[in-house]
């Protein structure tokens, strides 16, 4: 019996080794579908990438499932958006995954925010100011120009781990960036009716989108990031929206519908509901269609409001 147990144990220990082969694809785990899409565009057939989030979640509340630890245990690289946006689930999962290759700042830890200059960096960290984003607003995926920086960081991270494929990553990155550039030029043209339009969102995650397309994000329904509103805050917000003629209320789809609708109706603003990630709606099946969907939806709402 002891001999059989030892043999079984030996087989179990050998299994991970026997599965590694020279033609094995790069096993990547991305935190959000946006990054998984970029990884597929950059690495093509060289990569197998899985996203932890499906796209419908609030990225601050992605469930910490043990099955994610299994995925991360087998990963060669982990691809994250960074700026601490994944703090609610990724650090604990990396600990549970027991994979030294992808621990924070290990070579396999690909932080896609390294080339992004964030907005809204707090000058003071204080919990009285809510659940602050300590290194700046992390919702950079909503700006396609910063999306290009994310793609570059992703490509550089893959190259760091797989220098033998550098030429392929560069070629694919150049193609992807060219596609993004063409789309950005078209979007900036189409977004001209949005210039100067003011919006309020549920959470402060529309900042980059607003900046890119000439809009102004003037406030949030949350009293502070991560803190649900009080009646007093809602009343103040409504008053401010009337005073400043705020035309749009943006409800990110993972926040409650009723309150955003009530605020829009009471202030005469138009309610628009947007996904915060690729996969948040069926039409947003990749990064380009995600930005496209958001822009078209906002344009339609503005046109409806006028």
């Amino acid at each position: 019996m002891t001999r059989i147990a030892l043999v079984l144990l030996a087989v179990l220990l050998m299994v991970p080794v026997s599965l590694k082969g020279a033609d094995r694809k790069i096993q990547a785990v991305a935190t959000i579908p946006d990054l998984a899409d970029m990884a597929r565009n950059i690495a093509g057939d060289l990569i197998d990438v899985t996203s932890l989030a499906t796209g419908v979640e609030d990225i601050h509340a992605v469930p910490m499932k043990p099955s994610f630890a299994v995925l991360l245990n087998r990963a060669d690289v982990v691809i994250l958006m960074g700026l601490e946006i994944e703090h609610a689930f990724l650090p604990a999962l990396l600990e549970a995954a027991r994979n030294p290759k992808i621990l924070r700042d290990a070579p396999g830890y690909i932080d896609c925010s390294v080339y992004v200059t964030p907005l809204d960096v707090p000058t003071r960290l204080d919990r009285a100011l809510g659940d602050q984003h300590p290194v700046g607003n992390p919702h950079i995926n909503l700006d396609p120009v910063r999306g290009k920086d994310m793609a570059r960081a992703l490509a550089d991270g893959l190259t760091r781990n797989y220098p033998e494929y550098e030429a392929t990553f560069k070629k694919n990155l150049d193609t992807y960036l060219a596609t993004l550039d063409a789309a950005i030029a078209r979007w900036e043209q189409e977004a001209k009716p949005l210039h100067g339009i003011k919006l309020v969102s549920y959470h402060p995650d529309m900042l980059y989108f607003a900046e890119r397309f000439g809009m102004e994000a003037v406030g949030t329904i949350e009293i502070r990031a991560g803190v649900d509103p009080t009646p007093g805050h809602i009343a103040e917000l409504q008053e401010r929206m009337r005073r400043e003629r705020v035309g749009l209320v943006v409800r990110e789809l993972h926040y409650p519908a009723g309150l955003a609708e009530t605020i829009a109706q009471s202030t005469g603003a138009t309610l628009v509901e947007l996904p915060a990630m690729v996969g948040g709606v069926p039409e947003a099946k990749d990064y380009l269609s995600f930005i496209d969907y958001n822009l078209r939806t906002v344009l339609k709402a503005v046109q409806k409001g006028t």
Partner: protein, 451 residues
């Protein structure tokens, strides 16, 4: 300039003319050509010289024109102080973004060089309860002021410590070293920590979903599953999440006073643990955590050689709709524990009443369980209900408790909880009301153990 060029050309021609006859004259006498051929040659050479002169005159004229153009007064430059064009603005913005992109990693790295960056993350929990019981009346219970420290030690290990101040004093509740780089998905933990038994035994009091620890855990585990020892955990290389843990400790149980934690002992007097835990992802929104634990003490040190077996099964069902995880959800958690050990047939004598008669030990079985259900109605309001049942370790009649409660999250870092408990135990039936207020300061980590 023109006069000089012409002079040079004239000198050149004269020199050429002088040279040509002497050149002709130098021809050897025996090669002298007839007079008509010499004249043709001379005419040819004069034509060539005329062509060269014309070329040189053309070149001189071009040079003079260039000189004249450069020497003439400068026309005013176009006015560049006009408003930058959109293209220039776009270009400036792109250059700025490119520069920022390139220097940002250096700036971030510079920020990390300050010595304080190596300090551990520090957090502090304050947990306080106001209570009212039928028999004991009211009380403000300062439960704990708990400091947590954690940091990476080196590329191979991390460490953490929980130092807890209670009315009974200051205690190192946990201080452990954990490996981070072992192969084969192994983790080794050593020091003082909560042994990997069950689910809620590993939760600090303030992290529990309700005010008080379930009766079965207080009675069978005696508080948290604290132990001084070593533990090895293995994540199996299977698609199905499966962890296997084994450990060895002086004892398990923070308030387990039946075993002395400080004295050396034989290997038969340590407590050994085995645990298997898995996760079933039923759908995207529904999941089950399932675990089985077994702790064995071959010889309980003070029980004249009696052994102890403690076994448990834990199950946690979660409904977490992905698109509304902050606002909706349901958790159902249950643990069953079974204790088997040799106990004195008349129980342990009270302190000060011991006699010289040896105690007669008999095997005793005891069973206990808890089950709770908690709903997430919004980001703030979490109502729940806890059912407790536990037999006495000495097979005394069981204790039952029913506890509806409401947890209110004012923010992620401040929690209020109101709980009513109906306690029914042998010789005592009591109503209890609790109001708990718990806050977290400083570093905030979402732990995998406490999910």
């Amino acid at each position: 300039m023109r006069t000089t060029a012409q002079a040079l050309i004239a000198v050149f021609l004269l020199t050429s003319l002088c040279f040509s006859p002497s050149h002709v004259a130098a021809r050897p006498a025996r090669q002298a050509s007839p007079p008509s051929t010499s004249a043709a040659q001379l005419r040819h050479e004069i034509d060539a010289m005329k062509q060269q002169l014309q070329q040189m005159q053309d070149k001189v004229r071009q040079q003079e024109e260039t000189i004249q153009r450069l020497s003439s007064p400068q026309t005013p430059a176009p006015d560049v102080s006009t408003v930058p064009t959109p293209h220039e603005e776009q270009f400036k913005r792109e250059v700025k973004e490119e520069i920022m992109r390139d220097i940002k990693p250096s700036l971030a790295a510079a920020n990390k060089t300050f010595p304080s960056q190596f300090n551990p993350a520090i957090g502090f929990i304050i947990d306080t309860v106001g209570s009212y019981r039928d028999h004991e009346r009211g009380n403000f219970e300062f439960r704990s002021g708990e400091m947590g420290l954690s940091a990476n030690i080196d590329p191979f290990t991390r460490g953490y410590a929980i130092i807890n101040g209670t009315p009974e004093g200051l205690e190192v509740e946990e201080a452990a070293i954990v490996t981070t780089a072992l192969p084969y998905s192994l983790t080794v933990k050593g020091g003082r920590f909560f042994a990997d038994f069950g689910r809620l035994s590993k939760f600090h009091d303030h992290d529990l979903p309700f005010v008080n620890r379930p009766v079965v855990l207080d009675r069978f585990m005696q508080g948290e599953s604290q132990g001084d020892g070593i533990e090895v955990s293995y994540l199996a290389p299977t698609q199905q999440y499966l962890t296997l843990t084994t450990g060895m400790y002086n004892k398990i149980g923070a308030e387990n006073e039946r075993v002395d934690n400080l004295v050396p002992r034989d290997f038969s007097q340590f407590t050994y643990l085995w645990r298997a835990a898995t996760f079933l992802n039923l759908t995207d929104n529904n999941s089950i955590d399932l675990g089985a634990s077994y702790a064995y003490t071959p010889k309980v040190k003070i029980d004249q050689g009696g052994n102890r077996h403690l076994a448990g099964v834990d199950l946690t069902f979660r409904y977490t709709p992905l698109s509304q995880a902050s606002y909706r959800g349901l958790s159902w958690g249950t643990e069953f524990l079974y204790n088997h050990e040799n106990r004195p047939s008349d129980g342990f004598p009270e302190e000060g009443t011991e006699s010289e008669e040896p105690l007669h030990f008999k095997p005793r079985d005891a069973f206990g369980m808890y089950s709770y259900i908690e709903a997430r109605l919004s980001r703030r309001f979490y109502p729940g209900f806890l059912f407790d049942y536990a037999q006495g370790i000495d097979r005394a009649k069981g204790t039952t408790a029913y506890s509806p409660y409401l947890t209110i999250w004012a923010s992620e870092f401040q929690r209020l909880r109101l709980q009513y408990t109906r306690l029914e135990e042998p010789g005592n039936r009591e109503n209890q009301v609790f109001l708990q207020w718990t806050v977290a300061l400083g570093s905030h980590v979402h732990g995998f153990r406490d999910r």
